[in-house]
Symmetry: C2
Subunit: 515 residues, 2 copies
């Protein structure tokens, strides 16, 4: 088989698998947005069939052989810069990574994991409702053990390898970034944020001067109408995507020209739904601006969870909670809600939107304390997976870290160690993506601001063209062709660092709180 034929065949196998993955994503999207309540049971079985077939297509021996043939003969090379042929070398590298991850796990182990995950999640829901960690503990132990076995199967943490078991879990979401790399950044970050948070909470409550106005009754239909106009204004193409409602906001890619986001509207909190729209729009912009060459291939996705979160958090927080953004949109917001906003201005909204109030709950956290919630989880995960921390010791360790970083003590475990779904699904190593997203986002924003002066004025004019072009060129278009560390370095000239983020946070909140 000649080079071209082998590559074409491999691409066809990959394409078929991606179509199955996207089809499964539609089944899931529908489940969250419109499935009749009693349809859940069949849907779970349908999803299991599609996911099973997608897995079969990935561990297909023919795919493995084609990979070997093409790699061994050095048959595939990237096209010279500036040409538009398919990036074969990146394709082989990324597909090899996906293939290894799938093929190294014994089928029985995968099945056992899926089975216990389902049960673990169900028990977590119950334990959280009953505010009783002890119910969940034995399941969490199993999930930890499975995570350890999984990363061991992948080849991490062997004595003398210089890697840890936890590195392998991080690598799943943030390729090529070790726990050590992250700790080197997260350590100082945690200290600086903690210090700032203490100063803010000690400062006189300047932002409480006026009673807020972003509550009361904001008609959800009108919120939706405003959000659609906003989304379009931000650059979301409704010919290539949708906005729907679901219990938890998410973004789902169902095709190269089919990227869907969701939100939820609460009458008493109009900013929650709106900022979810802006957050998910950040994810969607990434998926909507991929190089068409990568369409329907394993390269046609965001390169990591951290880079993905950099986009969602950049749009939500850095843009969506800025003065300039609201100078652009507040007049229109006021037209939708004249009564609700009577007598208030951009500055009122800006202050209310950026109030810092340390909370026990991650998803309610402000920009200052959010990363602290993540650092706490990162440290605990390292302990759990590395073996230094047992599941029984976890609640106390959680509470101690919460006290240390945020100065708070949960009344019980429901608002503490039981608050997130992630561990019940075995998704250890996922949390750091959120904090990495904050750091990457500000690194990109800093460089973007240097390359495109006058960004504040652009935002006031609601002109996002420059942002889309810059991020599109440096990040979006490249898909999975470039791993996150190199991507950030090529885009900004610097490796991962917290300085841009800290500079932004300290400047913004010192001004707000007159520190």
């Amino acid at each position: 088989m000649d080079k071209q034929t082998a590559l074409e065949r491999l691409r066809a196998l990959d394409r078929e698998r991606m179509h199955l993955v996207r089809s499964a994503a539609l089944l899931q999207w529908d489940q969250e947005t419109g499935l009749p309540p009693e349809g859940v049971e069949d849907r779970a079985e349908q999803l299991a069939v599609l996911e099973g077939l997608a897995h079969e297509k990935l561990v297909n021996p023919e795919l493995g052989q084609l990979l070997e043939v093409l790699e061994a003969r050095g048959f595939v090379e990237d096209p010279p810069a500036g040409t538009a042929s398919f990036p074969g070398e990146d394709f082989l590298r990324v597909l090899r990574r996906d293939y290894e991850r799938a093929v190294k796990l014994p089928v029985d182990f995968v099945r056992e994991c899926a089975r216990t995950e389902g049960l673990s999640q169900a028990v977590w829901v119950k334990a959280r409702r009953q505010r009783d960690f002890s119910l969940f503990a034995p399941h969490l132990e199993k999930m930890v053990r499975h995570a350890q076995e999984k990363t061991r199967f992948w080849g991490w943490g062997a004595p003398g390898s210089g890697t840890t078991l936890y590195d392998g879990l991080l690598d799943l979401y943030e390729p090529d970034l070790s726990a050590g790399d992250m700790a080197a950044v997260f350590g100082p970050l945690g200290e600086r944020l903690s210090a700032l948070l203490q100063k803010i909470t000690a400062a006189p409550e300047k932002l409480q001067g006026l009673p807020g106005f972003l509550h009361g009754h904001y008609n959800p239909q009108k919120q939706d109408a405003f959000c659609r106009e906003l989304l379009q204004g931000l650059g979301f193409d409704f010919n290539r995507g949708r906005l729907d409602c679901s219990a938890h906001p998410f973004t789902s890619t169902l095709g190269f020209n089919d990227v869907r986001i969701t939100t939820r509207y609460a009458a008493e909190d109009p900013m929650a739904g709106l900022l979810s729209v802006v957050h998910e729009a950040g994810h969607a912009f990434y998926e909507m601006a991929l190089d068409p060459l990568l369409r329907s291939s394993c390269l046609g996705e965001g390169t990591s969870m951290g880079i993905h979160e950099s986009q969602s958090r950049l749009w939500e927080n850095v843009i969506g909670r800025s003065r300039s953004f609201w100078r652009g949109w507040f007049p229109r917001f006021r037209e939708f809600f004249p009564e609700e906003t009577r007598g208030r201005g951009v500055e009122d909204l800006y202050r209310e939107l950026n109030r810092v109030r340390p909370s026990l709950i991650r998803v309610e956290a402000d920009e200052v304390s959010y990363s602290l919630h993540i650092i706490l989880r990162f440290e605990l995960e390292q302990g759990l997976i590395g073996g230094a921390l047992t599941v029984n010791e976890l609640p106390a360790a959680w509470n101690a870290a919460m006290k240390k970083y945020l100065g708070l003590s949960p009344a019980d475990d429901a608002d503490g160690v039981l608050q997130d779904i992630h561990w019940s699904m075995g998704a250890f190593g996922y949390f750091p993506s959120y904090a990495l997203g904050n750091l990457y986002g500000l690194q990109l924003w800093e460089k973007l601001g240097e390359d495109l002066p006058g960004m504040a004025e652009s935002l006031e004019r609601r002109d996002y063209g420059g942002i889309h072009r810059w991020l599109g060129e440096k990040i979006y278009r490249r898909g999975r062709r470039v791993e996150p560390a190199r991507l950030i370095e090529e885009a900004t000239g610097k490796p991962l660092s917290s300085s841009a983020f800290l500079g932004y946070i300290e400047k913004k909140y010192s001004e707000l709180y007159e520190l």
Copy 2:
């Protein structure tokens, strides 16, 4: 392998295939109801992958072997009446039928058919827009040839077999009913309906006395709200289904507890959207009331297109266009549309809804002329597939038959032979289902009326419980376990016949037109 193990394995293979079929149905449903415009291309590829896999699962040699083993050893028997175990014998018979249909067609032929179908449909759209049959003719010739080859592959029409090629196509939609059987019923039916239609069109225009009120501006949101209330009132369970909008109304089964219908609303024609809802509800009631034993198996569907249409057309026409039905619903309709219905009553609505106006277009036809449109197509299809009629002769034959049955002459082929999509998709043999549906529906309604006296009063009270129970027992619950001819005979005590339908039509319209 023992009997039970073989049956369980066969059921697992069938179940997996059905889950793929349902997943593909979701992709299609989404395409019609919410797919972003530019998502069409990827969706087509995703659908091709899922349909290809579903086909692979059906022609799987293991499935064929298990069928043989179980059939040969007489291993599977139906459970004794009254017990609730899985009906293995019906399962084998129906799965064998599906398997043979799939396995007898060479893979290359199936692929060639799919390819030419896509092109044929596209050209049909263009030819219809340009009102030019000659564009479409060569493609139609190919579709006819493919249909002939297909039915020949299935073993129909061999010399001395006593069957025709067309029989094989009819069998696909209406198992065990030959063209001869149908002709014996359709012939006299056509004559009686034609005669009635002539009398009606010659009668003084009694129904035109008042200008109609079912046009003007009926707010589509209010139409939707009314239709949802109506649908629920008819017995549609929104916990197990949905109502959405699409360009063409349809029903889709996505799971045992997930049956979805669609409609479309036009401000100037409130009855179109409403009657579509009632029509599709008839399909949905059938799919929603299957025996749970048949869930996720090839038996868990309606038994034929004709029986399915009997339900949709029964609910839409016999119930939804009746006086009793509107005595139940008009007061509520008037509350939704007080201005639009001012000064009008049930009788006005009844007359307007049942006005007979022969039309060139099948989908706009009234109850009297509808079956004539079908009989015309049935005769032409017989000619085309049997070889007595060439594609070039078709437009003239169409126009002659239109003149004969409906007394009308189309101005051009767009409103004549080009009006329906079916032939462009190669769906020869499908049309008769619609007329069979009319006949079956009235046979069932007649018997139901004997078993449940006082039906008119029940309808006035909006009480549909008796109808659901009777149809559920006799038809819905049985799924594909019983072929249509036996099903109708068991339910009504009589074989297929047009007398109930003709009795209903002649009585209703003689009264309306005072013949």
